[in-house]
Symmetry: C2
């Protein structure tokens, strides 16, 4: 079993969907990644920053799941990062209503001493230079570095993004972002171009259409579970990343075959995330439910064809 | 092994894509369905109508593949149905440039005598009353009736469509059409509503995002093979339907487990169809290529997770 370092936002979200709206609730990429990874009972540490307004109970909620929070800096006189968004009726697109960086503006992540030899590093969506600074703190080369990013950094920090992704093993990116980063419409061609930028493995997230894992000439496809209702998509991509890295840290096997399984675990956890607002579904998730859902993924995708 | 009756257009297409354009070439739903189904070496019959301008070599091309063409009426002084379309750069949407119904306008399909006891009937996209008239000619109840339709009939023949789909077993429909037919955005809910309209099985085609097969509470998902280039999507949906019904006619097993395999066979054949203009790829397809592609589908989707 390996240790997992996660860097990412720990934040307040206010979300509006066709099903309702929330006040400020617990959110942030680091939170969703950490909660998802905690399903594998591994040693993980979330590196982040919050303000003096961040409730202790939220930190306790993470600690209770064996997530090390000593790397979450508390800026007493600062305010926690706040994001607010409103989803459209199709739940596939959203408007950002507010982004208040607050303490995130001067965030200098510090990896706790006892996590600098972690086998797996998950770089949640942040400025690529911030992501790089985490890598630079590792005392030995991690076995696996996974990076998530978004179009915002392609627009305003493309050079830094190109530099950082030279040093990672896996990138997780959505389909439109893969197209933006490469100028290629075909995801197969886009994945190959991203591969040439550094990452040996490319995960392209397609939301309700699932996720593709590329490695050299190999491709693996995991669907999203068809759901009656997507209640709130916030955090689904981060939950996928947390499940993916959590499974790999636990199994300590970074072969393509095992990454397939990691993708399925990530997809299964993400399918819970969207069932309720914010982290609500993830904090109440039980192991038996996860097993049941994995079985649903098997039934959804497995077939038996005799080949000659 | 069962016999397969196919009703659908046999037509001329003129296609424009970002990769080039064609003159009038062989097209039509019946053609694509027939060619796909012919890969299973079954007895199949295409029921259709063409004009005196339709080349004998195209009919020979079908006959050479053991497709009975005695149900393709030739109206000597009529012109063959003609469709022309232009695909947009993303290949997911297209403009229809011309639709000349010609002999199709007064098409009265006549199922050949020796196919009226066929086990499987594939009703290609046509006016729902025309589809129904084929069903009415069957001398015994087919084991499986599959119907393909499109938004056009929902707009202008909804009542007839509702009547016809009461009498079928499987409907194939694309995602937007499923939403239009039911007024439901969630495909899970849409499939359930369509199920209540008659079909026990609902196949929702999502183009580059694959296809979903619904039956009661069971769902199966087949991805589309990620391709470097989609050259021409024309006929992909019909090729899927031809592979699906051809496989089921050959195996004569209409269980959900076997339908999963049929969906995979249909998806594999459709992945060839889009590689060249029109029917070009399908008429030159060899059995070994199909086996290799089925293996790619296995690698694309199969994983091995131990569940507790």
């Amino acid at each position: 079993m390996g240790k997992l370092v996660i860097v990412g936002t720990v934040a307040f979200d206010a979300i509006e969907t066709p099903f309702g709206k929330t006040d400020k609730i617990l959110g942030g990429a680091g939170t969703f990644i950490g909660l998802a990874a905690s399903n594998f009972n591994i040693d993980s540490s979330v590196v982040s920053v919050v303000g003096g307004d961040f409730p202790q109970e939220y930190l306790d909620l993470l600690s209770d799941r064996n997530i090390d929070v000593s790397g979450i800096e508390i800026v007493k006189d600062g305010k926690t990062f706040f994001w607010s968004g409103k989803y459209h009726n199709d739940m596939n697109s959203r408007d950002t209503l507010a982004t208040e960086l607050n303490v995130l503006e001067h965030f200098n992540p510090v990896v706790p001493e006892n996590y600098r030899d972690a086998e797996v590093v998950m770089l949640g969506n942040l400025h690529p230079s911030t992501q790089m600074s985490v890598l630079n703190q590792m005392s030995k080369k991690p076995k696996l570095v996974v990076l998530d990013t978004m179009n915002f950094w392609m627009d305003c920090a493309l050079e830094e993004l190109h530099e950082t992704i030279k040093h990672i093993d896996v990138i997780t990116i959505n389909d439109e972002e893969a197209r933006q980063l490469t100028g290629e419409y075909s995801l197969v061609v886009a994945a190959r171009k991203i591969h040439e930028m550094g990452p040996k493995y490319v995960v392209i997230k397609k939301g309700e259409h699932g996720a593709l894992l590329f490695h050299d000439d190999n491709v693996f496809y995991a669907p999203a579970l068809p759901l009656e209702e997507v209640f709130d998509p916030t955090g689904a991509g981060d939950t996928f990343a947390g499940g993916f890295t959590g499974y790999l840290a636990k199994t300590n096997d970074f072969s393509f075959e095992n990454m397939k399984k990691a993708v399925i675990h990530g997809s299964a956890l993400a399918s819970f995330c969207v069932e309720k607002f914010g982290t609500e579904r993830m904090v109440n998730l039980e192991a038996g439910e996860v097993q049941k859902r994995l079985r649903q993924f098997q039934q959804l995708t497995q077939f038996d064809i005799e080949l000659t």
